[in-house]
């Protein structure tokens, strides 16, 4: 075998060495490969195919990665054929690489990955999304940390309509944020490290992120889920934007946009206006109250008995807001679901109900009136039963008396005690599984300067506000009541942006 190939396959070493040694070896190996590539550029360019056949990407990931990097930077690789081979090498690599090795060379891995989804177009978007999704999950199978690649990828997938391949990635709950200074003294190749300890700007497996990028990621995830009609996931994604932590009275535009979509998706998902979680920051709440008011009124009209209110509110927001914010289709869907939710909610009141009564008790928000005929009700109910949104059956008595809908018990209601306890156990295990995450977070935060100074500042601010509050409360009744009114006035004059 060519001695040069021996250099490329010299790493990884045989098992039995500790992490520290492994890391040292990897760095020396990377240095050797770099020298080899520099001295044999011609050879690599010409016989890349043969060389890479010998270098299995699943085993010799580090060497393979460095050759890929070299090929991508080579000026000669612009022909169609070269493009295709390069794409094929990259696909093989990203589907098989050994995550432990590339942790030791994060910057190179990131650079090559960026090429996979760059505008240079080595891959069609559909392939790029699938490949990068697989690569990111290979790097961190828990998918619990967001990286700059996540942000770019979700944008590409949404803009090119390739959401399907992205789902395995964006369905994983993000818990960690990459931050500088998160690295530990342990070598990066230690497989027991939690994701934020090796995926951070220091290891260069991700770039540093901004709050806007994180918000944008969740927002786009929400849009992707809407496209797939995965309402629960879309709702959660927008809720992450809405409740995003802020300080010093900050609130981002993305948050207000997400708030509007969150309301609409909430209506589709639960049939009633969602309530803001306690974790929403005060500043955001105030801004939502003014800027999201038309949507809030629309949501409140959803609760009304008659569809007329909802139609009126729809017209109010449809003239200006909806088209500007790209919510027209979503709001129309909400209108279409109004009657469906009215029918579903009848379950709480009736065990069975005649179709005529349904016609009388419910209204279509698309027309603002009850359905014209019992047949139309029949059709709607059947479609709801068919798509699973309604657990029920239409009974047609043989004696010719009118047909009626019987509500069947929902899966949870029909559950036996054994099934119920099995379900509870499953959830409990999920909660138990949080323990190591909490422990890891706790450990890291306890020594994180940023977090400690933040916590101290929070406590200080809270104490200060408490003190101010006491002062104003003790300042005589007429002054304090006047003060409140004045504040309210200030709020009502908020300019729209």
């Amino acid at each position: 075998m060519d001695a040069r190939l021996t250099v490329l396959t010299a790493f990884p070493p045989a098992a039995g060495i500790d992490n520290e040694e492994y890391y040292q070896n990897s760095q020396q190996h990377a240095k050797r490969v770099r020298e080899l590539v520099r001295d044999n550029a011609q050879w690599i360019r010409e016989s890349a195919d043969d060389i890479l056949k010998h270098v299995n990407p699943a085993v010799y990931s580090l060497s393979y990665l460095m050759i890929l990097e070299f090929l991508l930077q080579s000026p000669g690789w612009t022909s169609q054929q070269a493009h295709e081979s390069l794409a094929s090498y990259m696909a093989q690599f990203f589907l098989q690489f050994d995550a432990r090795q590339i942790r030791c060379k994060g910057s190179t891995w990131s650079d090559v990955l960026k090429e996979a989804y760059s505008e240079r177009g080595l891959f069609p978007a559909s392939v790029a999304v699938e490949l990068v999704t697989a690569a990111l999950l290979r790097l961190d199978p828990s998918g619990s940390i967001i990286t700059s690649h996540h942000c770019n990828l979700v944008e590409l997938a949404y803009n090119t309509g390739n959401v399907g391949a992205l789902l395995p990635l964006i369905e994983k709950p993000i818990i960690y944020m990459p931050a500088k200074g998160m690295s530990t003294a342990q070598p990066l190749c230690d497989m027991s490290l939690p994701p934020p300890a090796y995926i951070n700007p220091d290891s260069q497996l991700t770039d540093a992120l901004t709050s806007a990028a994180v918000l944008q990621y969740d927002f786009l995830c929400g849009l992707c889920f809407i496209e797939r009609r995965m309402w629960q996931q879309a709702f959660d994604a927008f809720e992450r934007c809405v409740t995003y932590p802020t300080r010093d009275g900050g609130c981002s535009k993305i948050m207000t946009e997400a708030y509007n979509k969150w309301i609409l998706v909430g209506l589709l998902l639960t049939g009633k206006p969602p309530t803001l979680p306690e974790t929403t920051s005060q500043a955001a709440k105030k801004i939502f109250a003014t800027q999201g008011k038309p949507y809030k009124l629309f949501a409140q009209a959803f609760k009304s008995e008659t569809a007329g209110d909802l139609v009126r509110e729809f017209e109010v927001i449809n003239s200006e807001l909806l088209p500007n914010e790209g919510n027209v289709e979503l709001a129309k869907l909400v209108l279409a679901h109004y009657q469906r939710w009215q029918i579903i909610n009848l379950r709480n009141i009736y065990t069975n109900i005649s179709l005529e009564k349904i016609q009388e008790r419910t209204q279509s928000a698309e027309t603002g009136a009850p359905l014209p005929t019992v047949e139309a009700v029949d059709q709607l109910v059947q479609s709801m039963i068919a798509d699973g949104s309604l657990q029920g059956a239409i009974e047609r008595p043989k004696d010719g008396s009118p047909a009626y809908l019987t509500f069947l018990s929902s899966p949870a209601q029909g559950m036996s005690e054994v099934e119920f306890s099995a379900q509870v156990n499953k959830v409990m295990q999920g909660i138990k599984a949080l323990e190591p995450i909490i422990e890891a977070t706790n450990k890291r935060l306890a020594s994180n300067r940023e977090y400690i100074s933040h916590t101290v500042k929070r406590q200080f601010d809270a104490a200060r506000e408490h003190k101010l509050g006491l002062q104003s409360a003790g300042g005589g009744f007429e002054e304090s009541s006047f003060h409140i009114e004045e504040e309210e006035d200030l709020m009502s004059g908020l300019p729209a942006h």
């Binding site: 932590p245 009141i349 977070t441």
Partner: protein, 425 residues
């Protein structure tokens, strides 16, 4: 006032001062005149008389105009121009005189006289119907107040004007001096009752029904009605307290706070039908309770403070009755219920439909307890993850930041910090 009415009012007054005094008397008469067909002419005539006995020309005109529209042939339906002119002149003179007097006190810097001057002027403004000016004058008395008693009197004046202006929110503040009177003070009990009743009216005006109910129920019947009859009569206390309690309290609370409350029982003696309605409710005879209340609905619609709230209170009482009625049953036939709750109002099915929908009635809810339990657990997991995520965002210094400087003096109410970030202070 003609002889018959005079005799009537005197007779009533002899029974223990049922009739309210002061300016609300006109308001009540005028309100009845405009709300009730059978009582219209008589009430408006009485209102005209009442207005003419005072100095408020605008009220007189309003009453005469209304009477003119209802019964143009009545002698009282014509404006007494001479009276108006002389009254107007008299009012003007009195205003000028009192203002000059006050100015004199101010020049001499006699605190007590300034206070009294302001009080006289305020009372005069109140009498001629300029409540804003009256409020101003009373308000100016604050700085010259030198004793607790004066502070209490001022509070009462302010409450009276605030009630006339329907400024419910400020009443609680005006009552503070009354509430802070020491219990050892012989007047404390009377002041507490005054304060309870005024607070009750204010809470009623703001639709805080339960709070209002407790205020009235806690009023003491031992206090002579003269103390509070400028704002309400003891009969009012019984009616307001009884209705509000029926609408907001459960059977045990009604028993404990009303029927077993010796002081409030005294009030209830004056309105025995309210007591009967409460007793029926407590004994579980809801239909009978509702029947009694329905028969008095027209009367309550004539009350200046209660009118606006009668439909809501009655609906609440009915809803509560239905809920209480259903408690012992797991299943009730709709026509049995229809019989029990016969009477005006929507059909019982529609009513139950709305009640179950609004969550006032827990029918069928038990069936979904299991799914709720599961949901709670799942939510717990979700929330835990969310909290960890938030801590990590803060630790990575990735929060959305505003422009407000903590502790800064130049807090701006609203500002755009960057293209992306909107900031609120």
């Amino acid at each position: 006032m003609d002889d018959r009415k005079l005799a009537f009012f005197t007779a009533i007054e002899d029974q223990g001062g049922v009739i309210v005094k002061g300016r609300t008397r006109f308001e009540r008469l005028f309100h009845i005149g405009r709300s009730s067909v059978p009582l219209c002419v008589d009430a408006l005539k009485a209102a005209v008389q009442e207005a003419k006995a005072g100095s408020d020309i605008l009220r007189y005109q309003m009453a005469v105009n209304s009477l003119f529209q209802a019964a143009p042939n009545e002698p009282e339906a014509l404006l007494d121009k001479a009276w108006m002119e002389s009254k107007e002149k008299e009012n003007r003179d009195t205003t000028a005189h009192l203002q000059a007097e006050l100015q004199g006190y101010k020049n001499n810097l006699i605190k007590e006289s300034i206070r009294m001057g302001n009080e006289d002027l305020g009372k005069h403004f109140e009498a001629i119907g300029d409540v804003e000016a009256a409020m101003d004058s009373f308000w100016k008395m604050r700085t010259e107040v030198s004793s607790t008693e004066q502070l209490v009197d001022l509070g009462k004046l302010l409450v009276r004007v605030a009630i006339e202006r329907r400024d419910w929110k400020s009443i609680g503040n005006h009552l503070k001096p009354l509430n802070s009177v020491n219990d050892s003070d012989p007047k404390a009990k009377a002041l507490k009752t005054y304060s309870k009743i005024a607070n009750g009216i204010a809470a009623l005006g703001q639709e805080r029904y339960k709070e209002a109910a407790f205020c009235f129920v806690e009023a003491s019947s031992g206090v002579p009605p003269e103390i509070y009859n400028q704002i309400a009569s003891p009969n009012d206390v019984a009616i307001y307290g009884g209705l509000l309690a029926l609408a907001t309290m459960d059977r045990h609370e009604l028993q404990a706070n009303l029927l077993d409350n010796d002081s409030f029982r005294e009030f209830l003696q004056r309105e025995p039908h309210i007591r009967r309605a409460i007793t029926q409710f407590v004994n579980g005879r809801y239909a009978a309770c509702i029947e009694i209340l329905e028969s008095y609905r027209p009367d309550y619609l004539l009350d200046i403070y209660l009118q606006k709230h009668v439909p809501k209170l009655y609906a609440d009482i009915r809803t509560k009755s239905i809920v209480q009625y259903l408690k012992p049953f797991s299943c009730v036939r709709l026509d049995t219920m229809q019989k029990a709750f016969n009477g005006p109002g929507p059909s019982i099915e529609d009513e139950l439909f709305t009640m179950i929908k609004d969550g006032k009635l827990n029918a069928r809810i038990d069936a979904i307890n299991k799914s709720k339990a599961l949901q709670t657990l799942e939510n717990y997991e979700k929330q835990a993850l969310d909290r960890i995520r938030r801590m990590n965002i803060m630790a990575a210094d990735l929060e959305v930041k505003g422009s407000r400087k903590p502790g800064g003096m130049n807090d701006i109410p609203f500002s755009m910090t960057t293209d992306d970030t909107v900031s609120l202070a």
